[in-house]
């Protein structure tokens, strides 16, 4: 099942670890907050994405199944 990256913008403090661990999908803006490339996480980087999620010091990053978003 396809997964996407979601950020809780209120929790995120701009530590920036995610962008170091997953440069394929995450860059930082001029203030150090993550910008996520839109779309599903390609299978080739899912493991890196999981590591970035685990590394977030404030648990602001998560991987969500795209199916869960249909209700929105």
């Amino acid at each position: 099942m396809a997964e996407i990256l979601q950020i809780d913008r209120i929790r995120c403090n701009g530590h920036g670890l995610c962008a170091e661990l997953l440069p394929e999908l995450i860059s930082l803006d001029d203030w150090g907050y993550p910008i996520i490339k839109p779309g599903n996480v390609p299978p080739s980087v899912v493991e890196h994405a999981r590591r970035a999620v685990d590394a977030c010091p404030v648990l602001a990053l998560r991987l969500a199944r795209t199916a869960a978003l249909v209700a929105l």
Binding site: D8, R9, I10, R11, C12, N13, G14, D29, D30, W31, G32, Y33, I35, A71, L72
Partner: protein
């Protein structure tokens, strides 16, 4: 008040095509249905009269002049979605509106009074955002929350909550009384229905005016007594809307779908005519400074991004920019969009982008320390 069943009421609203008037323009019938389907009788109705938009007066005017119509709409909504509790969330600075609603509620039977209460919304632009409104009622904190869950899923007291602008509720009450065909029979061109505008700036009679949707910008100016001077640009939809060139848009139909198709927004119905002798960079700088000050200060891109954008517009307005300020404005407006818990940064960025288009020459001039509006600054004679 008509005694239609819940499903008949929702069907009437859907057939009417009524769109929400808080700013987002979401179909009202569909919103009611979403809450009704989840509620199972335990929903809450939150009538939103916070009206934090600085250029809008229509909600407070409506509550002050027609409080019973707003109450009727809220009662109908409560019946339709299966809600017992009704909250009137009214901007704390809108004293006349609150007093009128309080008096009108006192005239209602005891069972209505027992189910309804007025909550004073704190001042501030984001206090009326729907998750912020729910958060304030629940916890006394009028800052937006992370969604999902959205209020229609889990709102006041954890219950499905219909957050609906007071003008939308008043129109729903009229549609329930007169039928969807009445509402469909109003409007010009392809637009259907009526709406309230707050017209301000370079007009003879600034204020709130009811128009048929699809009326043009020129009609809006006429409704406000005509323009009282030269106007080059108009702010449409409020601080979350955008600037438009008046000469290009003089015949623009004021109607959410027509405006969206042109990249514009009806928003909460604000129409502000900017006098040609007012500099667009200066006007934009004031708006961006306000919006930056109104960030709930929860999300980094909004806190830092809007503050940086406001700073650059201030330097440009003062004709003392740093090199590259204009390029940075373009980049920053692109960067903050979609990166907050609520849509505050998106709205601010949309306004900034519209300014960079409509006032492109002015911004370019200011980057070179030259204002095109006040072309020749007054010179002090040196003896």
């Amino acid at each position: 008040m008509p005694t239609l069943s819940s499903s008949a009421l929702i069907a009437e609203l859907e057939a009417s095509g009524l769109l929400g008037r808080g700013g987002a323009g979401f179909p009202v019938g569909r919103k009611w249905r979403a809450v009704a389907e989840r509620a199972g009788g335990g929903a809450v109705v939150l009538a939103n009269g916070a009206e934090g938009e600085p250029l809008s007066l229509k909600d407070r005017s409506l509550m002050a002049a027609r409080p019973h119509l707003v109450i009727d709409g809220a009662l109908l909504a409560a019946r339709a979605v299966g809600a017992n509790d009704i909250i009137f969330y009214v901007g704390s600075e809108h004293r006349t509106a609150e007093a009128a609603l309080r008096r009108a509620l006192a005239e209602r039977p005891g069972d209505v009074r027992g189910r309804a209460r007025i909550v004073a919304a704190p001042a501030g632009y984001v206090a009326g955002e729907e998750s912020a409104a729910v958060h304030y009622v629940n916890a006394g904190d009028a800052r937006p929350t992370t969604t999902p869950p959205r209020p229609f899923e889990r709102g006041v007291g954890g219950r499905p909550t219909l957050v609906q602008n007071v003008e939308s509720l008043a129109l729903a009450a009229l549609i329930a009384r007169r039928g969807h065909a009445w509402y469909q029979g109003l409007g010009h061109g392809r637009a259907r229905g009526i709406g309230l505008l707050t017209v301000s700036g370079a007009v003879n009679h600034a204020g709130v005016h009811e128009v048929e949707l699809g009326s043009t910008l020129s009609d809006a100016a006429a409704a406000a007594g005509g323009l009282n001077g030269d106007v080059g640009a108009v702010l449409l939809g409020g601080y979350f809307g955008g600037w438009a060139d008046l000469h290009e848009q003089w015949g623009l139909p004021l109607d959410a779908p027509s405006m969206r198709a042109r990249g514009l927004a009806l928003g909460c119905g604000v129409v502000h005519f900017l006098p040609s002798d007012t500099c667009g960079v200066e006007a934009t700088s004031r708006v961006m400074t306000y919006l930056a000050s109104q960030s709930a200060r929860q999300c980094g891109p909004c806190v830092f991004g809007l503050s940086a954008i406001a700073g650059a517009t201030q330097r440009l307005a003062a004709q003392s920019p740093q090199p590259g300020d204009l390029d940075r404005l373009v980049r920053w407006s692109g960067q903050v969009t979609g990166r907050g818990a609520c849509h505050h940064p998106d709205g601010a960025a949309a306004l900034m982008n519209s300014a960079l288009q409509v006032f492109a020459d002015d911004f370019a001039g200011h980057q070179h320390r030259r204002c095109l509006t006040i072309a020749e600054p007054a010179r002090v004679a040196v003896a």
